[in-house]
């Protein structure tokens, strides 16, 4: 029975999935209305280029690959069109997509060895043109083999046109064409292999290709040659991992973007801030959002609505279904494995079970003995803590007790009882637990579907990794229970969350530029947030965001470092500018990626109340110094009006 088990969240990387697996795991973000900026038809039909931005593991590759020709071909075969012709499926969809991923090590190899930048640009352009051209020809070959294109059209028109532009007059078949492309690509690879040892020039044996010659040239030939393509099929180049292209390479690509026609369009996947440059090859020209492309953000820090949660349930369902044992038993609901939401009261009771009165002892210097007795409520230490806070703020103990009792009896018509309910349910419940944890010197547990969804910060891959690690722990500690009961304990989930959080924190050091500075910054700001969570007056509950004017930082290195932090989703900009506190000016607000919250023992929610204000000198300090004290930032908070002042 257990032989049919494997971790459903293990080892699925969209780049490596085969075409069928892309379909099997595909969950349409459009069905969950995750993007307001585009609709499904735009992928093939929109005359603008579109840039999809998002952090690592936000699903960009899955998204781009889904629209690629081989995957759509499978869908076409499954959904027979009325005519029975596969090509009609593409005509109905109005486009055909070519997925292009050149991996980082290859892109980085077009550089150095005493060869000037302009020459490297030409070699890269030649290489890119060959890669795109080969993709197009391969698609024609597949259509031909499926009997969708006529042999005469291929032999009498298509091949002669292509062989003219590639200067290969002897070629008579598509297979020969593909071989020729492979040979020429290998020519570049050979050059890359030799140039570190010898002073050599790159001289392609039949000449080099200029920008657009094949990437636009071959689609044009296809449209000219085959009537089915002529009117209604757009050519969509799906370029992945654009952030890996160097600045000179992006200039080559940006130029292509500028000169793309209505029928040849780009859909580009990249990290946030993945443009290294907006310049084109020509020095005085550049591309601009809204003119050459429009932007869709895959990662939204405030994705907290039901649609995102439903999407995660669906993504998980597909993975759970892929494991025989779970499919057979119908255990395909991730919310059952993890539990839907955390039980804060239960956690608080577990927390104090060994030393039940410690929180009263903690405040005993500030409280009268008689008050303590009046506000005790053994069944819920969080209410006891709230009572303590009310008394500390000057509310008489008997009134606190009365408000609590009214709340407990569901009688919240009175002003105090209603206020008590709002304080507990809407404002402070989670903050009270963090404070209780601090008093008891214990850690908050991070578990449940909702918590994992929040921790994922809008990055689907983070959610998947939290699940993978949870299943890993559950399998290791009690595999039978995992399979029989279909549940994972909160302790196992918490271990998974802590492990992943620590690993991600550690990983910041490895960010290709400014990793060390960003790591220091996150450590410092995370600890400052932690001190806010330990504030015994809970003046600013769940503070975990900061305001900063990154775009106007005067030090370019500092600006680049903060941008790198955004690019790698270490910090996330909230979509709209907000007030830093009630009554304050509107500013850009940033949160740290919530996956770091378990490491710092801070809230994974974004309340949006108070933001720590960071000036340029603050950022310098946080990026360069170890263990920056939170005193100044807590003082900053004290100097401002507090939410409690209004009570």
């Amino acid at each position: 029975m257990t032989d049919s088990y494997r971790n459903p969240f293990s080892g699925i990387n969209a780049v490596t999935l085969d075409d069928q697996a892309i379909l099997d795991y595909w969950c349409s973000p459009f069905a969950y209305r995750l993007f307001s900026e585009i609709k499904e038809a735009d992928i093939y039909e929109d005359p603008s280029n579109i840039v999809f931005m998002g952090g690592r593991s936000t699903g960009k590759t899955m998204f781009l690959r889904y629209w690629s020709f081989p995957v759509q071909l499978k869908l076409a075969a499954e959904n027979n069109s009325k005519s029975g012709k596969i090509i009609d499926y593409f005509k109905e969809r109005k486009g055909i997509g070519f997925y292009i991923r050149i991996d980082g090590p290859v892109l980085r190899s077009f550089n150095g060895y005493g060869i000037d930048l302009e020459k490297w640009n030409s070699i890269f352009t030649h290489y890119f043109e060959l890669i795109v051209g080969r993709n197009c020809i391969e698609a024609i070959k597949m259509f031909y083999e499926l009997g969708e294109l006529k042999r005469e059209e291929i032999e009498n028109y298509f091949i002669p046109e292509v062989r003219t532009i590639i200067n290969a007059p002897e070629i008579v078949s598509i297979d020969e064409l593909l071989k020729e492309f492979d040979y020429r690509i290998k020519e570049v690879d050979l050059f890359r292999g030799n140039v570190p040892f010898f002073k050599v020039d790159f001289i392609p044996y039949r000449g080099g290709f200029a920008s657009q010659s094949l990437s636009f040239g071959i689609p044009k030939i296809i449209k000219k040659t085959f009537s089915d393509f002529r009117q209604s099929i757009n050519f969509i180049l799906l370029i992945d991992e654009y952030e890996n292209y160097s600045e000179p390479q992006q200039r080559v690509m940006n130029t292509l973007l500028r000169f793309s026609s209505n029928e040849i369009k780009f859909r580009i996947g990249m990290r946030l801030k993945g443009f290294r440059t907006f310049n084109m090859i020509s020095e005085d020209d550049f591309i601009k959002e809204g003119r050459e492309y429009r932007k869709v953000v895959f990662e939204e820090v405030l994705i907290k609505d039901k649609n995102y949660h439903d999407f995660l349930v669906e993504v998980s369902k597909k993975r759970l279904e892929s494991v025989t044992i779970f499919k057979e038993k119908g255990e395909i609901d991730i919310t059952k494995f993890l539990s839907k939401a955390e039980n804060i009261e239960e956690e608080a009771l577990e927390l104090i079970s060994k030393f039940p009165g410690k929180h009263f002892n903690h405040f005993k210097k500030s409280l009268r003995e008689s008050d303590i007795e009046a506000i005790k409520y053994r069944e819920n230490p969080l209410l006891e803590l709230l009572n303590i806070l009310w008394v500390l703020r000057g509310v008489p103990a008997n009134e606190v007790k009365s408000a609590m009792e009214d709340y407990l009896q569901g009688n919240t018509n009175g002003e105090k009882a209603n206020k008590y309910r709002m304080d507990y349910i809407d404002k402070y419940k989670l903050s009270l637990l963090f404070l209780l944890c601090s008093i008891y010197h214990k850690n908050k547990k991070y578990y449940s579907f909702n918590t994992f969804a929040f921790l994922s910060s809008g990055i689907v891959g983070n959610f998947i990794e939290l699940c993978r690690r949870s299943f890993q722990y559950a399998e290791f500690e009690n595999k039978d229970l995992l399979i029989k009961e279909g549940t994972i304990s909160k302790e196992q989930q918490n271990k998974a969350a802590l492990d992943f959080s620590e690993a991600e924190l550690q990983q910041i050091n490895r960010i290709e530029s400014y990793g060390g500075y960003i790591h220091k910054f996150i450590n410092n700001i995370g600890n400052i947030f932690r001190d806010f969570h330990k504030d015994e007056r809970i003046r600013y509950p769940e503070t975990n965001q900061f305001s900063a004017d990154i775009d106007n930082l005067s030090d370019p290195k500092l600006k680049d470092a903060m941008r790198a932090a955004i690019k790698w989703s270490v910090i996330q900009k909230k979509p709209k500018i907000q007030q830093t506190a009630a009554g304050k000016h509107l500013k850009d607000i940033y949160t740290i990626n919530r996956i770091y919250c378990p490491s710092f023992q801070i809230s994974y929610r974004t309340r949006g109340g108070y933001s720590v204000k960071l000036t340029e000198s603050d950022i310098v300090k946080l990026m360069t110094e170890e263990n920056v004290s939170s005193k100044d930032y807590l003082k900053q908070m004290s100097a401002e009006s507090t939410l409690f002042d209004s009570i």
């Binding site: 290859v106 980085r108 391969e138 690879d189 292999g193 050091n509 490895r510 990793g515 060390g516």
Partner: protein
Amino acid sequence: MKKVLYKMELVSSEEIKRDSFDFFLLAGGSDFRAYQIMRLMKTENVSINKILLFDFLERVHDIDKNDPYYEYQEVGFKNIFPIQCSIKATNSCLQNLIPLESELLAAQKVALDISCFTKPFFFYLIKLFKERFKVKELTIFYTEPQSYLFPRGIFSSYRSSIGPITILEIPGFSGFETRGGKRVLVILLGFDGDLSKEIYEDISPSETLVVNGFPSYTPKFKDISLIANEKLTSDKDVEIAFSRANNPFEAFNLLEYIKKRNGNAFINIAPLGTKPMALGACLFALYHPDVRVVYPLPETYEKVTTNRCWNSWRYLIPLNVT
């Protein structure tokens, strides 16, 4: 008649005293093992025409005169020629080697101590000597460390590198990708789990195979590497194979087997494990130019990563391969 398949032996005074070399190449380093072989050669009066000491900018920029890095000056050889170079630009040594080109082309016996070279650097040097200086055989020395440094416990704190990393092809080892074919990634496992994850993501292979050094220099090392690379090794689709940590030829044979099994796949090798295993990968990639070797280049390397010395090995590496 006994047929010698490969030659690998423990370095001993008895053996080494019979050696003589036209060139002996080694890397400057602060690890104790950096000059172990050179010291032994001096003690045993090994005849060496020229010693080329690869003097890395990154290793000398913040050390003082008393750093163990400079102990090579005390060994007693007078014919040491420092070759200025940079870890980050492997071919940076070429301009300083070109003036010696005619001597190098005439050299019959060349020895290379890989103990303190970074892996990309010695890969580059071996191919350079094969392709440009037409050396037919290299004698490679390697000194095992007694232990590695684990600043915060043995299971996750080993770092040979510091700061951001960039995944690169080792210069000269780009390979050729068969378009539309499958990609296989073979990771020779090291202790630094961050590196294997980054490589896996950048290469995005359809199949991954990790090779653990077993038997390792000491028993615990094989477990440390598995635990440090937990994310990768726990994946059921990732196959784990073993190869003796100090035997390049065993690694070579294993890679041969993997290549045969995968037909026309584009094989990517990430030599993160021991240097002898990496040496096997280097030899394999020289035999199979279609194979790509990738490596994570960090911002900086730790100055010292090992403790004292253990065994020293001597390998004969044939380079007249086609």
